[in-house]
């Protein structure tokens, strides 16, 4: 039962389940991009 719950993410309008994960992922993604730009451009 628990196992099933874990991968039923419903149909909320974000793919992130828990609170703030989306914001933090956005921040992480932005930082990675900034690093890439810093290193390679």
């Amino acid at each position: 039962m628990m196992h099933e719950d874990k991968f039923d993410r419903g149909s909320a309008l974000t793919i992130f389940k828990s609170d703030r994960h989306e914001d933090l992922t956005a921040l992480a993604l932005a930082l990675v991009i900034a690093l890439l730009v810093y290193l390679f451009i």
Binding site: A12, L13, T14, F16, K17, S18, D19, E22
Partner: protein, 154 residues
């Protein structure tokens, strides 16, 4: 006279639907089963619109709130109708589904083996309310049993 074993009543408590409820109840014969269908229109799926800045928790709270609120409103409506049905001693069943109103009605007509379907007439344009109507043409083409449309009470 039609032998009515199963009557399908589609109603969600609006004024037009209440007229349909009255007619359906009036048509019930001693051994008739009244199948009450409540459709939650699928337009609710789009009711978060293009919100993009709320946290997941805010959206969850909203989603749960809307579901619960729709549930409460349906319960209120059911309580009123069921009181009346019971007073008349009619056997009844209630079903709540989520989807497109006309398609849900067509599906449930088959499932409930209805002999007659009763619905309310479309809301006049001067009265405001949720915009989600049965497309009568779709119904007329797909239904295999008679459809009764209660006139709008004026």
């Amino acid at each position: 006279m039609l032998k009515l074993k199963n009557i399908l009543l589609a109603s969600h408590g609006t004024i037009g639907a209440q007229a349909a409820e009255k007619i359906a109840l009036g048509l019930c014969q001693p051994d008739t089963v009244l199948h009450h269908l409540i459709v939650i229109p699928d337009l609710w799926g789009g009711m978060m619109g293009d919100d993009w800045l709320n946290n997941a928790s805010t959206r969850d709270t909203y989603g749960q709130y809307v579901e619960a609120q729709l549930g409460r409103e349906i319960d209120q409506h059911r309580a009123i109708l069921e009181q009346e049905i019971k007073a008349r001693g009619v056997t009844f069943q209630t079903k709540v589904v989520l989807g497109k109103p006309d398609q849900c009605l067509i599906d449930y007509a088959v499932e409930s083996k209805a002999d007659l379907i009763v619905i309310g007439s479309p809301r006049p344009s001067e009265i405001s309310g949720l915009r989600s109507r049965m497309v009568l043409e779709t119904l007329a083409q797909a239904l295999t049993v008679p459809l009764l449309i209660a006139p709008y009470p004026r």
